[in-house]
Symmetry: C2
C-alpha cells in the first residue's frame, strides 16, 4: 500500500533496543505524517504549503511525497483555495476508498462489526447476538461469517481485521488470557485462528484500548489522556504522546483493580478495596454520586501520577447519567488541582462514540499505523 511495503526495511526485526533507521523507514515515516495531516484535514483538505509548514519539511519535499501518494492512489487534488495575492493553493484530500479495515467488537453477549474507510468513517455495519461461552471455534466461525457478510460487495482493498474484546490478553501475539467468567478462552490464539480462517491480517486488543485508540485518532491528538470505561466492569485505556500505552506485556490499563481503599471490601479479583468493587457497589445501591466520587479519586490518582491532559469517560453506566459522572469526577480533579496550589486544569468529558465506538477502534488497529500511530 505504501509503495515498498511495510516500513522499516531493516534486515532483522529483532533488534533488542532501539533500532537503526534507513531511507525506507524515513520515507515511510514522512509519508505517514503527511497522510495523517490529510486525514485530520478531512473534507476541507489541506494544501502542500500547509503540509510543509506543519511537518517542518521543505515545500519541495512535500511535493515529492504528495506525488508518490497520488501515484499510489491515496491522495487527490480537489479544487483550490482563494488566492491571497498570488497563485491559489491546491487543495489536497485523502481518498477514503483507497483502503478499508474491519473492526470487530466481541462483547459478552453481542457482536458488532464495522467496515471503515481510510478516514475512519463507518461504511458498513452488522450486529449479531453472541455467546462467548459457546466455545472458541464456534465464536471464531460466526465472527468470520459476519466479516464475510460485511465484505460481500468487496470493493476497496482490505487492510485487515481488528478485534476488540474484554479482559486481559496478549496484544502482541493475539492470545487471550482468562476472560472473566469464560475460562475456556484462556490461552486461545484468537489472532492466529481468525487470520487463518479469513486469510487476512488480524490484530487483537482489549476493548478499552480500542476505544482509546479511536478517541486518539478522532481527536487527532499527540498528547495524553485516559479513557475510563465504566460498564459491567471498570477499565481504562491510557494514551501518551498520541499512542496507546500497553506496557511491557500489553497488560496496562488495569484501572479497575487499582487499590484505593486498603483493606477495603473484597473484590471479585480476590484483592481488597479495588476501585471497581467500590464503584460497582455504589452503583448497585443507587448511590451514583459516591460512584462518581470514587471514580474521581481514581482519576485524580491518574492525573497526579502520569500528568495527563484530559480524562474521558465512557461505558454503559456513565452514559446513563453522564452529567453526574462528569461533575463528580471533575469536582475531584478540581479539588486535587486546588490542593496542588496550581491551575493544572484537566478537563473531564464524556467520550463520544456510541455503540460503535469500540468496533471503530478495532478497525483503527489497522488504520492507525498507516498514519504513523505506531502500535505503542
Amino acid at each position: 500500500m505504501n509503495g515498498n511495503g511495510n516500513g522499516t526495511g531493516n534486515r532483522n526485526g529483532r533488534a533488542a533496543g532501539a533500532s537503526g533507521v534507513n531511507l525506507l523507514a524515513l520515507r515511510s515515516h514522512n509519508g505517514a505524517l503527511v497522510l495523517d495531516l490529510l486525514r485530520t484535514a478531512g473534507a476541507a483538505g489541506i494544501s502542500r504549503l500547509e503540509l510543509a509548514d506543519r511537518t517542518g519539511l521543505t515545500p519541495q519535499a512535500v511535493s515529492k511525497i504528495i506525488a508518490r501518494l497520488r501515484t499510489d492512489g491515496l491522495v487527490t487534488e480537489a479544487g483550490y483555495r482563494a488566492s491571497t495575492g498570488g497563485k491559489p493553493r491546491t487543495v489536497l484530500r485523502l481518498v477514503p476508498d483507497a483502503g478499508h479495515a474491519v473492526g470487530l467488537h466481541l462483547d459478552r453477549d453481542a457482536l458488532t462489526a464495522v467496515v471503515c474507510d481510510l478516514t475512519g468513517a463507518v461504511v458498513g455495519e452488522r450486529r449479531a447476538p453472541l455467546h462467548l461461552g459457546a466455545g472458541a471455534d464456534a465464536v471464531v466461525e460466526s465472527a468470520a461469517q459476519e466479516v464475510e457478510g460485511l465484505l460481500a460487495e468487496g470493493d476497496a482493498p482490505l487492510l485487515g481485521v481488528g478485534v476488540a474484546l474484554p479482559g486481559p490478553l496478549d496484544h502482541l501475539h493475539g492470545v487471550l488470557h482468562r476472560v472473566t467468567g469464560f475460562p475456556e478462552w484462556e490461552g486461545f490464539p484468537l489472532r492466529a485462528a481468525l487470520a487463518r480462517r479469513l486469510r487476512t491480517p488480524v490484530v487483537v486488543d482489549k476493548d478499552t484500548n480500542a476505544a482509546a485508540l479511536r478517541l486518539a485518532v478522532a481527536l487527532a491528538t499527540h498528547g495524553s489522556f485516559a479513557y475510563i470505561h465504566l460498564g459491567t466492569g471498570l477499565g481504562a485505556g491510557l494514551v501518551f504522546g498520541g499512542a496507546v500505552h500497553r506496557g511491557a506485556r500489553t497488560r496496562a490499563g488495569e484501572f479497575g483493580h487499582q487499590v484505593i481503599q486498603l483493606d477495603g471490601p473484597l473484590c471479585g479479583c480476590g484483592n481488597r478495596g479495588c476501585i471497581e468493587a467500590l464503584c460497582l457497589a455504589a452503583v448497585a445501591r443507587g448511590d451514583v454520586d459516591e460512584a462518581a466520587r470514587v471514580l474521581g479519586a481514581g482519576a485524580a490518582n491518574l492525573v497526579g501520577l502520569l500528568d495527563i491532559e484530559l480524562v474521558l469517560l465512557g461505558g454503559r453506566t456513565v452514559e446513563e447519567q453522564p452529567d453526574v459522572f462528569v461533575r463528580g469526577v471533575g469536582a475531584m480533579l478540581d479539588e486535587w488541582a486546588r490542593l496542588q496550589g496550581e491551575e493544572p486544569y484537566v478537563p473531564v468529558r464524556v467520550a463520544s462514540g456510541g455503540s460503535l465506538g469500540v468496533a471503530e477502534g478495532a478497525a483503527q488497529l489497522l488504520l492507525a499505523p498507516l498514519f504513523g500511530r505506531a502500535d505503542g
Copy 2:
C-alpha cells in the same frame, strides 16, 4: 559535537504534532544509536559487525558512521578480538574524555556536584552544605561557585550543567513551582538564572526523575521500570521505553500523593489517605513492615496500571532497612500476580546509586541525549 550540531535540522522546531524527519535527523539518530551501544559495551568495547547486528544497519553503514565518530574524536580503535577463523574484529571504544557534564543535586540541606565523562563515570566530586531557604540568588551563586571549583582544571569540553532538586517544577522551562517548605522559590527561573551565571546550557529536573534517568542509563534498558524513592518524602520516577515519562506539564511521578485509603488520615498536601502519609506515619511509629506493605500496595497499583517490568527502591528510609522493604514490596507484588492467575513476575530491587546517584542522574540530563535517550 555531533558534526552538524544538534540534530533534527528541521526549519522550525515548533511543529505541533509529530514532525518530519530529514537526512540530518536520520544521521543523528543512527549515530546516537551506535554511540549508545559503544557506551553500553564499556571497556570491553564492541566491533563494527556487532554494531551492525544490534542496530539492524548494514556493516558498511556502520563503518561509515564509525568513521564519522572517529573523526569527531568520540570513538577510538582499541585492539582486536581473537580471530574466529578469519580477520579478527577490531574493538571500538567510546572516548570518555570527549565530553563532560556537570550534575548538581540540590537537596534541602546539602549540595552535591559531580563531573561525569561521556560514559557517565564520575571524574570529580564536591559537596557543600546548603540552605535552600537562604534565597534564590544566594543559592544560585553558591551553586555556581561549586561548579566553577569543580571545573577548575578545565580539560574536556563541557556539555552543560544538569540540576536535580525536590518538588514539582517545570522541566521544559526550568522554572520551579512551590518547593515544599520554601515558598520563596515558587516561580523562580532556575534554569535561566544558572545558565546566565555560568554561560553554559542548563537543564533542570526533579530529583526522582534524575535518579530514574541514571538507572535507565546504567541498566541500558529500553524497557520500563518505576524508581520509588522513600526519604523525607515519597516520590517516583517512571521510565517507559527507556525514557523518563514526565507527562504533559512535566509533573508526572507524584506517587506519594496517590490516594490509597479513601477518607484516610490527613496528609500534608491537604488530601486524605495518600501513600506518603500512611507510609511516613508507619515509619515514624517504627512499623517498617506496615510501611513496606503500604508501599507494596502502591507498587502493585503501578504495575497493574502501567504494566512495568521492574520496581526499584531507593531513598534514605529504604537504605536503612533495604531487606524489609524489598521483601515487603515483593510480597505484595507476588500476591497481586497470584490473584491475576498468571506469572507476570515483576522483580523488586534496591536501586544502586549511593549518595551520588541523583547528581549523576543530573549529569545524565545532558549526557543521555547524546545517546538517543530523548527528553521524553
